[in-house]
Assembly symmetry: C2
Homo-oligomer: 293 residues x 2
């Protein structure tokens, strides 16, 4: 999807917050904000929001000289939900609709915003899980369950580091033998990379690939050729999080998006309220009609 | 006061909202946002926030070709509280501390945000009045009452059009014979100009002057020489609204500010929470010590 003019004030705010999370040097903060204003003044709004965030975080990594500035936060976020897994796994197993419960838990992982500055407490995680289990799933969950039943191979696009442990439960339900998990190719914000997949043990049950890009989303043109081939060949793609939705929402293909709606621009785009837990689908691949050949 | 880096995302949002209130031409909206980003990338943060707003609204008046684009909204806002005046005047007259009640009503006028797009309902106005009468006044109200008792002449710097009718009640308590009301020199947003002072009948009880500027605040360097002389000669200055506070907060002199705290930057600056109804004072004029001469 294109970026909206309404995204611009938000990008400026994100620049400032992200810069503050990395530095308390007033000159770095002011220079970074000014550079981003200058860049945005001329930036192509045809790009999806993660392209803007990619630019912001590249710049911040450059000026601070840190390749993976949020590594410590990601380590903490990876560990936090791990000890809940036995209880949550039992919950999924005992559910009358295990796939539905696992989808809800995966979205709970996305709902809880494990930002890089603020810590997430265990009670907030519990609350996010309780809410995801109780509130309706918006969108097309039944189409998703149907698509899952018939797919022989699934490409699972991960989002943030902290939610990987909850993704693990959904992947167990999908059947690890047919799942490949894709993570970002380079560190950006608190998005999951190979290290995080290893941290939560995903690499022991599924193949993990990286997309070759440092965008906090999946901008295909910015991904490696190898990843693009995996993407094109995938029978079913599950894309977690708003960043993956923003970058792939108009991509034809058998893509299902699982995320919590976190801003008004996306709410307007999907026609659901901010806060909705969504399972939605990309526009279907055009099927060539035989009559017209 | 200087503008904060935290003001920048807010200025970008204000640009977009102000542009939307004036035009639904997508090109005008996008071009205006881009021009403001470019300008802000290099703008002096030593300027107070109203200098940024002044630039934004000048640009919008230029691109839309409208000299006073919010005239109709201001007319409505001026009229709305007028029929409440007899009841509110009786409330002030019957109060055990009429000056305190009148100050609270003047701040209620500032508290209710008569934006240019959204309409303010009468019940919202009633609610703002009830809240102002019941919540504590923060800051230095007693110093203000003392300053008022001893001043022979008072310069009253008005803020938005809609709150003038409530300012009228405070001016009646101050004694119109010693009050001069200053309005903005040119239209900007929904700030009060001479037309508004006439609309609510202020010109029939006090002298009305304009400051010669189109900033939504009082940036002395941008005001007319005539106004600056009035300002320098004033025995006591009462400045309404956050914009006047932002532009005059560091000006030495016998200035009292009456406003509602509307954002976190100002809350941090005055050390009071967002939402506080404040009567505060500028830094005192340095008195030359005779011993040191």
């Amino acid at each position: 999807m294109r970026s909206s003019l309404d995204c611009i004030p938000c990008f400026v705010r994100q620049t400032l917050e992200a810069a503050r999370a990395l530095s308390d040097d007033a000159t770095i903060l002011e220079d970074t904000v000014r550079e981003m204003l200058l860049w945005m003044a001329d930036a192509d709004l045809g790009q999806p929001p993660p392209a803007f965030a990619q630019h912001i975080h590249r710049r911040l990594r450059f000026v601070t000289g840190e390749h993976d500035p949020h590594r410590a936060a990601k380590d903490r976020h990876n560990q936090m939900p791990l000890h809940l897994l036995p209880r949550l796994r039992a919950l999924v197993g005992g559910s009358s609709h295990p796939m539905d419960t696992a989808v809800r838990l995966a979205i709970a992982g996305n709902a809880i915003d494990m930002g890089v500055a603020a810590e997430v407490t265990e009670s907030e995680l519990d609350q996010a899980i309780a809410q995801a289990l109780n509130r309706p799933l918006d969108g097309k969950p039944h189409e998703f369950y149907r698509a899952v039943r018939s797919a022989e191979s699934i490409l699972y696009l991960a989002d943030n580091a902290g939610e990987l442990a909850l993704d693990l439960l959904l992947i167990e339900q999908l059947g690890p033998h047919r799942v490949t998990v894709a993570v970002r190719g380079e560190p950006v914000l608190n998005d999951a990379t190979r290290i995080d997949a290893t941290d939560v043990g995903l690499d022991r049950i599924v193949e993990v690939v990286d997309n070759g890009s440092d965008a906090p989303g999946t901008i295909l043109a910015d991904c490696s050729a190898k990843f693009r081939r995996r993407f094109a060949d995938a029978e079913l793609i599950i894309a977690k999080g708003q960043g993956n939705f923003e970058s792939l929402s108009e991509e034809p293909g058998n893509i299902f998006f699982l995320f919590k709606v976190k801003c008004r621009v996306i709410a307007d785009h999907v026609g659901m309220p901010v806060g909705a837990h969504v399972v939605t689908q990309s526009p279907q691949r055009r099927t060539e009609s035989r009559e017209r050949v």
